[in-house]
């Protein structure tokens, strides 16, 4: 004990009076451990003991009863009041008791009503008189639709480059102009967005992800902060299609709130989930060494959110987030499901299992009616894809032959809107790399090649509807006479483009035009703009090393960009960063290059006009054309005047500066002449001409012309 540090043991060694504290049990100052059970039978005193023991037995199953405070059953004259106080050891048990025994059928005529003691006490303090609440003063909310009323009919996009986040306007005629670049945040010394940004599906909100803290929503004319959703280590966000809700996900398998669903209007979290619906999925992922849990997905109209589980799909109603009809939808062997983008219909597929075939099922929600079920055999995998209005569902089925040695493709195409959901089949011998539906149309395109290792691809276009041509008119089909222009529900090949450099397909949101692009590491970034209506190539272009192709929501412009990943850029991604804008005909509109370029996102915009209104516009297109042309010209003129005015001033300032400098130069003239030995370098006539005569003998030859006779 000699080496003890003196200061630490001073009290220990001191001779002072011994100080001690009596350890007393902590006084529980509230009644959270007590519940009131009401609606008990009213019994005479003789039977109280019996009733108490029955009650003890019942509540003892839920939690541990407190021995210090035994159940209490107050008397009302010679009979009990019909209620009892039960105290548990912990408040958690009390809460559990309320949940478990409330509405318990005690006997024939007594259904128990159980409440926490504290909750009941709250009722005691209700004032006698009702005081009307004063309404909170109305604070106008930011107008999240302001950008849609842009007088220039422009579209917006957001880029992330270097430390900057910028929202630009683009109209396809002039260079993009900045709308907002986070200058307010910059002035406050904050970087507007350090990580990724996302637009909401209708473009009302912009979400910036702050990895450590959560998600912030921005919107309105001045990009104000409209909401924040705390979620530590958030990895991605997902908006519901009508922007009512937002889901934040962090890839932490152990957290109880790895998935959070928030209500955007109130800003409150409405439910949290674990990352994996069950341990089976987690174990599978851990074996593969990845985190890829089944994701929640939203129904098209914000009514439901659903997630796949083991042999089932759990569907929750919004905004209550309660399990639909308190039970999950059974889906035996389910591998993947997708909501229809146009109706509350679920499509899911399950692989072969034992003797039962693989299946693709369509189920209506909330009726749970099976709309269509399709059995498939010898299936390797199924890739499902909905047409954007939910009219068609395409399933690319990769099948193997009986020997399992070779694989081939087969498309199952569901006409979802038609009676009985007819399915058409299309066999493709080639390897299929990609297929995409035309937005708002009935066509789809696919990239295929003879073998999986091919470098030159073919691109085929199919139409689910067949328009009767003039030469077919009058012929009969299934006993019915055909007329020109009639549309038949019949799958047909539109055209096949052979020998193309293409890995990805990008349909214009307006339909009709498609960009065939070869993206990725080893490819050149070639772009082909193709008009499917006229089956002609509009332009062949190239954006070297392009990683992304995006159409603007109107279908006027296409952006191609070379982006690098946000987390830890690799060397190979660091070069040629930037973006280009093209018209839908493939005319290059704009180039921007940056040292580090991360994201290019068009602000999504939903068509708000009804189909009839769109038709009306199409028939009167000439009128609108004139109107917009005039507006365009006026804007161009105003812009030109504005620019030249600024530039002229700039030029004048600069020229004045140069003139001043020249004056300084001239003031040194005499000294300079002296230095150069009398030579005036400013005098252009100050030179001497020396004529140098040069004689160059090219060749000498001696010939005897004629011998002198």
């Amino acid at each position: 004990m000699t080496n003890l540090p003196s200061d630490e043991y001073e009290d220990y060694m001191s001779d002072g009076e011994l100080q001690y504290e009596v350890k007393q049990p902590k006084l529980i100052e509230n009644f959270s451990t007590t519940v009131i059970i009401a609606n008990l039978p009213q019994v005479p005193e003789s039977k109280v003991e019996k009733l108490t023991s029955v009650l003890k037995k019942l509540t003892g199953k839920v939690g541990t009863l407190s021995t210090a405070t035994p159940p209490l059953m107050p008397m009302n004259g010679d009979k009990t009041h019909g209620f009892s106080f039960i105290t548990f050891v912990s408040s958690a048990d009390a809460t559990k008791c309320v949940e478990a025994i409330n509405s318990y059928q005690f006997d024939k005529s007594h259904k128990l009503s159980v409440h926490g003691y504290d909750d009941v006490c709250g009722l005691r303090d209700v004032p006698e008189k009702y005081v009307e609440k004063t309404a909170r003063p109305y604070v106008p909310q930011a107008d999240v639709g302001a950008w849609l009323r842009d007088p220039g009919q422009r579209d917006a996009f957001c880029i992330r480059q270097g430390h900057e986040t910028e929202v630009h306007w683009a109209d396809g005629l002039r260079d993009p102009v900045i709308d907002y670049d986070g200058s307010r945040e910059k002035a406050a010394g904050i970087q507007w967005c350090k990580d990724r940004m996302e637009w909401s599906p209708k473009g009302s909100f912009m979400a910036t992800i702050i990895k450590q803290k959560g998600v912030i929503l921005w919107g309105g004319e001045k990009y104000e902060k409209l909401g924040r959703f705390a979620h530590a280590d958030v990895d991605h966000v997902s908006f519901s299609p009508n922007e009512g809700y937002i889901m934040t996900v962090s890839n932490k398998p152990d957290a109880v709130d790895a998935v959070k669903i928030h209500d955007i209007k109130t800003g409150k979290m409405i439910r949290a989930f674990k990352l994996y619906p069950s341990d089976k999925f987690r174990e599978e992922d851990e074996e593969r060494g990845e985190i890829n849990p089944p994701q929640f997905s939203w129904s098209y109209n914000d009514e439901y959110i659903a997630r796949m589980g083991e042999d089932l799909i759990t569907i929750y109603e919004l905004p209550s987030m309660k399990l639909l009809e308190k039970k999950s939808l059974l889906a035996d062997g389910i591998k993947e499901f997708q909501w229809s983008p146009g109706a509350n219909t679920l499509a899911y597929w399950s692989p072969e299992k034992g003797n039962s075939p693989a299946q693709v099922n369509l189920v209506a929600i909330p009726s749970r009616k099976l709309l269509r079920s399709k059995n498939l055999f010898q299936v390797n995998s199924v890739l499902m894809s909905w047409q954007d209005e939910g009219r068609f569902l395409g399933c690319k089925v990769l099948r193997h032959t009986k020997s399992k040695k070779t694989v081939y493709n087969n498309f199952e195409l569901f006409r979802v809107m038609e009676e009985g959901v007819p399915v058409e089949m299309l066999d493709v011998k080639d390897a299929v790399f990609n297929f995409r539906w035309e937005p708002g149309g009935s066509r789809f395109a696919m990239v295929h090649a003879e073998n999986a290792g091919a470098t030159r691809m073919n691109v085929s276009f199919y139409d689910m509807d067949k328009t009767v041509k003039a030469d077919e008119a009058g012929t009969k089909k299934k006993g019915k006479k055909l007329t020109e222009g009639q549309v038949l529900p019949e799958l047909n090949l539109v055209t096949t483009l052979v020998d193309r450099q293409c890995s990805s397909l990008f349909w214009s949101p307006a339909g009709g035009v498609i960009v065939l692009a070869s993206l990725g590491d080893s490819s050149s970034g070639s772009l082909e703009f193709y008009d499917v209506n006229q089956t002609i190539t509009l332009a062949m272009r190239e954006h070297y090393r392009a990683t992304d192709v995006n159409w603007d929501p109107s279908g006027r412009m296409v952006s191609t960009s070379v982006c690098q990943p946000l987390n830890g850029a690799y060397f190979k991604f660091q070069m040629d960063n930037g973006y280009m804008l093209w018209s839908f005909q493939g005319k290059q509109l704009f180039i921007a290059a940056y040292e580090n370029f991360y994201q290019f996102k068009w602000r999504p915009r939903k068509v708000v006009l009804s189909k009839e209104a769109v038709k009306e516009v199409e028939t009167n297109i000439k009128k609108y054309e004139r109107e917009f042309d005039r507006a365009d010209k006026e804007r161009a003129k105003a812009l030109y005047l504005e620019e030249t005015k600024g530039k002229r001033l700039q030029r004048k300032t600069f020229r004045d500066r140069v003139a001043d400098l020249r004056a300084v130069y001239k003031s040194q003239k005499q000294q300079r002449i002296a230095m150069n030995g009398g030579y005036d370098s400013d005098d252009d006539s100050n030179f001497t001409t020396t004529i140098v005569k040069m004689t160059e003998i090219i060749d000498t030859k001696e010939t005897v012309i004629d011998e002198f006779p």
Binding site: Y544, R648, R651, V658, L661, M675
Partner: protein, 339 residues
């Protein structure tokens, strides 16, 4: 018009420059042999043989009689331009990075890199051309040691203000003005964050433009050393020049020579870019080289320019009539502002 391709050097071009009259084009290369070409026909007139190392810089005097060359063989040599004979050799302790004539061609200055235990140095020599070279002192009139901290290296030097100041650029992005009498730093500015590759002046030496690895070129006023304009690109800028008769900037560069082999020629950004001097906007490119452009020079008459690149070629371009006739994009008189 098709450019004239000057093939004569065996290694990458380090420097190109026209003489004062604009009829000769001098080029320096890593192949040890400075060369002179006809600026109008592209014909090779002659070479200056004698260096044992890469030639980094050269300067021809105003009357085109004497040429100075700076070489990695730790010498600076003076040549007779017409005959190609070596007039004098000035020995240094390290590779000579830059050389510049003083106004009036009676003195010149060099910058040398540190080598072994020799420090980086600016040396000023006297060389009265009217006296015999044997009478010149081999020792410099003044030696200025460069700042040793951070191991910065000088990249270029120019005499300014009637030989009163020496303008030196550094690889940390700074510029210093030295007094030529006592070697004191008169002024210092830091236009760039990275190495200044080159600096060039307009004919009157009233404006200068710096080109830097930080992908920008900046225009400055010589008298007040004030920043006027910035020209932004997406590549390291190796050289930029000011057009003598148009408000234009020519700018060349490309990726770092080391990483060139990793990309295709298309993506290497080896074009000469044209910027408007005042509005800082790019309005044209000239392609052709398959390596980064190391040096640019524009003829004093403004009708042709030469670019020398890492690929070892010099391209001599003559401007089309349409370029020569080109007007400022902003009309002089406000035409429509009245309404």
């Amino acid at each position: 018009m098709r450019p004239i391709l000057l093939k004569g050097h065996e290694r990458s071009i380090t420097y190109v420059d026209y003489n004062y009259d604009g009829d000769l084009l001098f080029t320096a290369s890593k192949d040890n042999v400075p060369t002179v070409w006809s600026a109008t026909t592209g014909e090779r007139i002659g070479t200056y043989n004698g260096h044992q190392g890469a030639v980094w810089d050269l300067d021809c005097n105003k009357f085109s009689t004497h040429l100075l060359t700076a070489s990695a063989d730790a010498t600076c040599k003076m040549w007779n331009v017409e005959t190609g004979e070596e007039v004098q050799t000035f020995k240094h302790r390290g590779p000579v990075r830059g050389v510049a004539w003083g106004e009036g061609s009676q003195c010149f200055a060099t910058i040398s890199d540190p080598f072994m235990d020799a420090v980086a140095m600016i040396s000023i020599y006297d060389c009265p051309l009217d006296s015999s070279p044997e009478s010149w002192s081999q020792a410099p009139r003044l030696e200025i040691e460069l700042p040793k901290e951070n191991a910065v290296k000088a990249t270029n030097l120019v005499f300014l203000n009637l030989n009163e100041a020496l303008f030196v650029t550094f690889d940390d992005g700074s510029i210093r003005l030295y007094d030529v009498v006592n070697g004191k730093v008169l002024n210092m500015i830091t236009p760039h964050t990275k190495k200044i590759n080159n600096v060039s002046f307009n004919r009157e030496k009233t404006l200068f433009i710096t080109s830097s690895v930080d992908t920008t070129a900046k225009l400055y006023d010589v008298v007040k050393l004030e920043h006027l304009k910035t020209y932004k690109t997406d590549r390291p800028v190796n050289d930029a020049v000011i057009s003598p008769n148009k408000e234009h900037i020519l700018l060349g560069g490309g990726q770092d020579a080391m990483s060139v082999t990793t990309t295709s020629g298309k993506a290497g950004k080896f074009e000469t870019k044209f910027f408007h001097l005042v509005y800082e906007t790019e309005f044209g490119v000239v392609k052709g080289h398959f390596g980064p452009i190391n040096a640019l020079a524009i003829n004093p008459d403004g009708r042709s320019y030469a670019s020398g690149a890492e690929d070892g070629y010099i391209r001599l371009h003559f401007f089309d009539q349409s370029y020569i006739n080109m007007k400022d994009p902003v009309p002089d008189a406000p035409t429509e502002e009245a309404n």
